[in-house]
């Protein structure tokens, strides 16, 4: 079974294009614009890897990550943000994010990290 990805980002142009590109590569992917929507979607759908922005209106990425760790322990999270602050990086590490990437990244790089995260889950990541 292919890897299932959820992208969470409040930047609509970025979200739409990256979702579309992942779909073009045959990946099962959803995209949501807020932390609340992400958590809601996770309750109804099986997801392997979450690509998560930090600075978002409403619930921020760190809070989303914290709740995922509580409610969905089997999910890997890759932080993808424009903010390089050491504080967020430390928090991400504490909350066992799989990786912390600074925007912008090439899609190839992101895909490679998604594959790696998926492999850590022991899932079938084609």
């Amino acid at each position: 079974m292919a890897v299932r990805v959820l992208v969470v980002d409040d930047e609509q142009d970025f979200l739409d294009s990256i979702v579309k590109r992942l779909e073009l590569r045959g990946i099962e992917v959803d995209g949501v614009g807020t932390g609340a929507a992400a958590l809601e979607l996770l309750t109804s759908k099986q997801v392997d890897v979450v690509v998560l922005d930090i600075k978002m209106p409403g619930m921020d990425g760190i809070e989303v990550l914290r709740q995922i760790r509580v409610s969905h322990p089997g999910v890997e999270v890759i932080v993808l943000t424009g903010h390089a602050s050491q504080e967020f990086r430390e928090l991400g590490r504490e909350l066992e994010a799989f990786d912390y990437l600074i925007k912008p990244v090439r899609l190839d790089t992101l895909l490679e990290r998604i594959q790696a995260a998926c492999q850590r889950l022991g899932a079938d990541c084609t």
């Binding site: 930047e11 970025f14 294009s17 990256i18 424009g82």
Partner: protein, 538 residues
């Protein structure tokens, strides 16, 4: 400050010295006056006694002899011998009748039959029975005085007269002389010298002062001589004769030993002043120097803090800008990437510009990558401004620092040679601070070399230390400036070109990191800075 300290230390010393001197001088003067008065009274008593004895002798003689015996010159000469047996104080003896005629004479002069009627002493003797004359020249023209007593026989009273050896008398008075300039003499009420003074005139001349300044009895008076000298005089009136015994003394003379003490004290005072002044100046200078050094240190610290704060805020601003740019940049990158993904064979065939589209969409992504490199470097810079401990390889820090100057170095054709030890251990230190130090040193090296010069960067491990060397073949540091290059605000660059803080900051940072910074320099040949760091900062 120095003056205040000097005044506080020295004024009490001077006041004390002056007070002690004045006190002792005054005490000395007092005792000197008392001594002088004692001497005068003592001499006056001695003179009085002398005169009284002579008078008593004559009186005894006159009342035991009879006129018919004493008018024999041989008899009279015998009596003179008896009188002078104990002390040769009588020069001659004479017997006068009531009319003042010398009826008999014994002595070295030819005075027989001289007439003394009308002489004051003769009249006085007739009137009062005894008299001691003032000194006078007499018939012989030699100063002398006489003692005369009256034998009141009826019907022929007679007078016995004797001349007193004026030398003996003068000696008696002069024994009251003291010191080199002291004088002792007798004047009568009219001020005529009755014995010769040592200075200022002979016997029978007039003394240069009015005897009325001498009150009855005895008294010490400070008076001024005609030549302007001051003299301390002890006056003592003889009780039985209208004579004033005077003892003069220079008032300064008894103070001479005190003068020596005063000179010694002055020398001591001068030496003390010099020592105290020296000590004060030395200590005050040291204190001021220390304060100035503290002040410089504080200024340097503040400058460094301000510099750090500036860098931190600059870093935050850079980070803020980078964050804001990263989000739209990410969108641009993905949108362009999506466009590239969607360019398929159909699109290429249907549009004559298909190839151009594909190329440009790729170029957009390449430019996104370039911009990302910039924003990521800005974020890294910001992160480096916050103090923390990193595990780092000094070679990496050197490479990062070099990346900042390589552009300018290549413009100026400065060759950069790396001699980095690949086996260098990782160390725990503050990456940002270390990078700032190395960057400052590299910038200095770049400023020091001429176009086409060379910079050598080397790293190596020494025991528990890691060393980074940055050498250049530039102008070098003049010998006289070597002590000052780490001082804050010291710069040899043109005004406005250098803050003078670079090396000062390096020095402070290396202290904070428990490391060290040293240098070798040879003017004209170049300079090498050595930065040494412990493997563990803590």
């Amino acid at each position: 400050m120095v003056l205040t300290a000097l005044a506080v230390a020295l004024i009490p010393l001077y006041v004390l010295g002056a007070a002690i001197y004045i006190y002792f001088a005054s005490a000395q003067q007092q005792s000197h006056r008392a001594e002088l008065l004692d001497l005068a009274v003592n001499r006056a008593n001695a003179v009085q006694l002398f005169l009284a004895e002579r008078t008593a002798l004559l009186e005894a003689l006159a009342h035991t002899a009879s006129l018919d015996r004493v008018d024999e010159p041989s008899e009279l000469a015998g009596l003179l011998r008896i009188l002078n047996q104990r002390q040769h104080s009588f020069v001659d003896l004479g017997v006068l009748d009531a009319d003042g005629r010398h009826v008999a004479y014994a002595g070295p002069y030819q005075l027989q039959d001289r007439d003394y009627a009308g002489e004051p002493w003769f009249e006085e003797t007739l009137a009062r029975g005894v008299d001691i004359s003032d000194v006078f020249l007499g018939f012989r023209g030699v100063p002398h005085f006489v003692v005369a007593v009256l034998r009141d026989d009826e019907p022929r009273p007679w007078v016995l007269r004797a001349t007193i050896d004026s030398e003996l008398f003068t000696t008696l008075v002069r024994s009251g002389q003291v010191g080199m300039t002291g004088d002792a003499y007798i004047v009568n009420r009219a001020g005529t010298y009755q014995t010769p003074p040592r200075f200022g005139g002979g016997i029978l001349s007039t003394a240069p002062f009015d005897t009325s300044i001498a009150p009855p009895g005895s008294r010490v008076v400070l008076r001024t001589l005609p030549d302007g000298r001051r003299v301390l005089s002890a006056f003592s009136w003889l009780p039985s004769k209208d004579w004033l015994l005077v003892i003069d003394r220079d008032p300064r003379e008894p103070l001479a030993p005190l003068q020596l003490a005063w000179k010694l004290a002055l020398v001591g005072l001068a030496v003390g002043t010099v020592l105290i002044a020296g000590a004060i100046v030395f200590h005050v200078r040291q204190m001021v120097g220390r304060l100035a050094a503290e002040d410089r240190k504080r200024v340097a610290m503040e400058a460094q803090l301000a510099h750090s704060a500036r860098l931190v805020s600059l870093g935050r601003m850079a980070a803020g800008v980078a964050h804001e740019i990263n989000n739209p940049l990410a969108a641009i990158g993905q949108l362009a990437g999506l466009m590239e993904d969607l360019i398929d064979d159909d699109f290429m065939r249907s549009s004559p510009h298909g190839e151009l589209f594909r190329t440009n969409v790729r170029k957009i992504q390449e430019h996104v990558d370039r911009t990302r490199d910039i924003t990521h470097r800005m974020l890294g810079f910001a992160r480096r401004m916050e103090p923390h401990q990193d595990t780092l390889n000094p070679n990496d820090v050197v490479e990062e620092a070099l990346s900042f100057i390589e552009r300018e170095a290549s413009f100026r054709e400065v060759r950069i040679t790396r001699q980095l030890d690949p086996a260098l251990p990782m160390i725990r230190s503050d990456r940002a601070q270390l990078q700032q130090v190395i960057l400052n040193l590299l910038n200095n090296a770049l400023d020091a070399v001429s176009n086409g010069g060379q910079i050598v960067v080397a790293t190596r491990a020494i025991d528990d230390l890691v060393e980074v060397q940055i050498g250049d073949d530039g102008v070098g540091i003049p010998r006289e400036l070597r002590d000052r290059i780490f001082d804050p605000f010291f710069t040899t660059k043109e005004p406005g070109k250098g803050s003078g803080l670079g090396l000062s900051i390096c020095h402070t940072v290396m202290q904070q990191l428990n490391g060290s910074i040293t240098f070798d320099s040879e003017p004209g040949r170049g300079t090498t800075f050595r930065v040494r760091l412990p493997r563990e900062t803590m």
